[in-house]
């Protein structure tokens, strides 16, 4: 079994029928509560979406540390900056389209440039938001948060990692953005799986030297693992990396994997332009250029549909990852 034992993933990881399914945003709710239980300075702000962003449990347990903002995301970002000035650690939550989407400039100036310790929680990222359609499917959020100085950007792969990320950012003194998803996705890590901000994890490693490294983030890491298992059966040696921290990126791991494999496929539920794959390409272009194929949304808006048919339609299914691997292997010298 090429699953990296140190990553302590679930046993039935390739059994699509049996694996537990929960949305990553559930992890946010748990992580916020965990951080809030431990640190009385943690406060939460929400823009009229406490149930669907999973802020509700915290709001009910700590009503004096929760502020309902109404539908006012720009105000939410700057009010959080003000709370941080008094020593609070605000978590601000909405759909990612609205925060960090609608309130980008407030996040840049009043939180990041101003060095305020605010955690920006964007729920409902990716086309897998589903029936709500393109207006509510954030697929540009990594691209707009990554270039802001002082910002940390994280995309957890499942509910457990979502919890760990929400808790871990409470220990960082500075602005962080975490992208969560609406839809239920496989829970394939465990509470024992390692998670450290800025440290990518090898989840899958063939016995042989890898022919290709698949670098993925978010729930699509699971698709990358399914693709890897099938590719290995065909004699292609694969390494799959859960690259949950897009900034600061684990450059050491990315460069090493490019050196070991000589070819890279990146996988994310985000526009290819400006996403995690772009960030990987920046690292490799400078340090160790190798052929790269990018799985993600290719300059389209999303649309209504069920999550899986949308992922297939926009080219992020398991078969697409396998095709990208075959394509990148042909480009290898």
């Amino acid at each position: 079994m090429p699953i990296n034992k140190k990553s302590k993933l679930v046993e039935n990881i390739f059994d699509a029928g049996k694996i537990e399914q929960k949305p990553t945003r559930d992890g946010y709710g748990l992580g916020l509560l965990q951080a809030g239980d431990e640190n009385p300075n943690i406060v939460a702000l929400c823009a009229d979406l406490i149930e669907s962003t999973r802020t509700e449990a915290f709001a009910k347990k700590y009503p004096a540390r929760f502020v309902e903002m109404g539908v006012a995301e720009q105000n939410m970002a700057s009010v959080a900056a003000g709370l941080s000035a008094i020593g609070k650690i605000p978590y601000i939550t909405s759909y990612a389209m609205f925060s960090p989407g609608r309130n980008w400039e407030q996040i840049r100036t009043t939180i990041c440039y101003n060095e305020r310790n605010v955690k920006i929680i964007g729920s409902h990222t990716g086309v897998s938001v589903g029936p709500d359609g393109a207006t509510h499917q954030a697929i540009e959020d990594i691209a707009i948060t990554r270039p802001i100085a002082n910002m940390t950007v994280i995309a957890p792969c499942d509910m457990h990692e979502g919890q760990k990320a929400a808790y871990a950012v409470s220990k960082i003194d500075g602005p962080c953005y975490i992208r969560y998803a609406r839809e239920k996705t496989p829970v394939f890590t465990t509470e024992y799986s390692p998670f450290e901000i800025g440290k990518a994890e090898v989840f899958f490693e063939s016995d042989k030297t890898p022919d290709v490294a698949i670098i993925a983030c978010g729930p699509l890491v699971h698709n990358a693992l399914l693709a890897a298992e099938e590719l290995e059966k065909k004699g292609i040696a694969v390494r799959v990396i859960n690259n949950h921290t897009i900034k600061p990126m684990d450059e050491k791991m990315i460069i090493k994997s490019a050196k070991d494999a000589g070819a890279v496929v990146t996988v994310e539920e985000h526009q290819i332009a400006g996403g995690m794959g772009s960030a990987v390409a920046e690292v490799l272009a400078k340090n160790h250029p190798v052929p790269i194929e990018f799985i993600g949304v290719q300059n389209h808006f999303g649309e209504s549909g069920n999550p899986n048919e949308l992922l297939e339609h926009f080219g992020m299914g398991v078969a697409h990852i396998k095709d990208a691997v075959k394509k990148v292997l042909k480009r290898k010298k």
């Binding site: 406060v43 004096a64 540390r65 502020v67 903002m69 109404g70 006012a72 720009q74 105000n75 970002a77 700057s78 009010v79 959080a80 900056a81 003000g82 709370l83 941080s84 000035a85 008094i86 020593g87 609070k88 605000p90 400039e105 407030q106 100036t109 009043t110 440039y113 101003n114 060095e115």
Partner: protein, 285 residues
């Protein structure tokens, strides 16, 4: 906070110095905003020399009141006032807008101790002040929060998002002061985007509204005192001011929002500020 006649005289003289140093620093920088800084000189002087609880030698003192400048572009007047209040040497005003300076073109918190928040993009200051007021209430602290706003930024939607929240939470520890000089970059506010009835707008958002002459120290101090005594409501003081106050060819004229001085204009502006528009004999030309 009784205002004796000798204190008024002191404040008037300090405001004159602040006006002069503000304009001299902008002339020296070669760019920067001028009309707003001149019309807010009296309010900044009243703040730093009579109203605020603060300690220039210990800018992060926990017991200090918070002064948030939302329309960061008028920072030259804040810098000049802070320098005279003892935050940094007056000499440093010469570095305004120059490479490596602590006096950035728009104020940056990390650059200069005593600046409570980075600002410049309009409309976000009231939100930050509201956040601070909420945080202080959570901690059951009595520090006051003062938010200095321009009238132009009343056109920003975010200002009203913040006003709505402050009204909802009955934040009586926040006092906003609007510089009602009626000008903005492109013209007079009522031509660009009418703000009136401004008083009624804030009242409709559950604020207590006071209106004053922003150049009268009695009125400034009394309004702040009144604001402190209003419970269960945030207070906004609409301070009517004269854009470009102190230089006759600039007063009331919107093009001076951010116009660069010609050499003759610079000389004349400084002469007028030095002599209080010819009221006193200048000791040197």
């Amino acid at each position: 906070m009784i205002l004796h006649d000798d204190k008024i005289k002191f404040l008037e003289e300090m405001a004159a110095k602040v006006r002069y140093d503000t304009i001299e620093s902008v002339i020296n920088a070669g760019s920067g905003h001028v009309a707003g800084p001149l019309d807010m000189a009296d309010i900044f002087t009243a703040m730093y020399f009579h109203i605020l609880k603060h300690d220039p030698k210990n800018p992060n003192w926990d017991g200090r009141d918070r002064l948030i400048l939302s329309n960061g572009h008028i920072c030259p007047v804040q810098y000049a006032t802070m320098a005279h209040a003892g935050y940094f040497p007056v000499e440093e005003l010469k570095t305004l807008r120059k490479f490596g300076t602590r006096l950035q073109g728009h104020p940056h918190r990390q650059a200069l101790p005593g600046i409570e928040t980075t600002s410049g993009p309009l409309g976000s200051g009231l939100s930050q002040a509201v956040g601070m007021a909420i945080g202080l209430k959570m901690d059951e602290k009595t520090n006051q929060v003062f938010a200095l706003l321009s009238d132009g930024e009343q056109e920003c939607g975010q200002t009203w998002e913040a006003a709505m929240l402050a009204g909802k939470l009955k934040l009586d520890n926040i006092t906003a002061i609007i510089d009602r000089n009626n000008i903005q970059i492109d013209g007079m506010t009522e031509d660009i985007m009418p703000l009136e009835p401004l008083k009624e707008k804030y009242e409709a958002f559950n604020w207590h509204v006071l209106e004053i002459n922003g150049h009268d120290f009695h009125e400034i101090v009394n309004a702040v005192e009144t604001a402190r005594a209003i419970f269960e409501k945030p207070v906004v003081i609409i301070a009517h001011t004269i854009a470009g106050k102190g230089v006759d060819f600039m007063e009331f004229k919107y093009p001076w929002h951010s116009k660069v001085f010609k050499p003759e204009e610079a000389k004349e502006a400084l002469r007028q500020l030095r002599t209080l528009q010819g009221k006193i004999q200048s000791e040197h030309q």
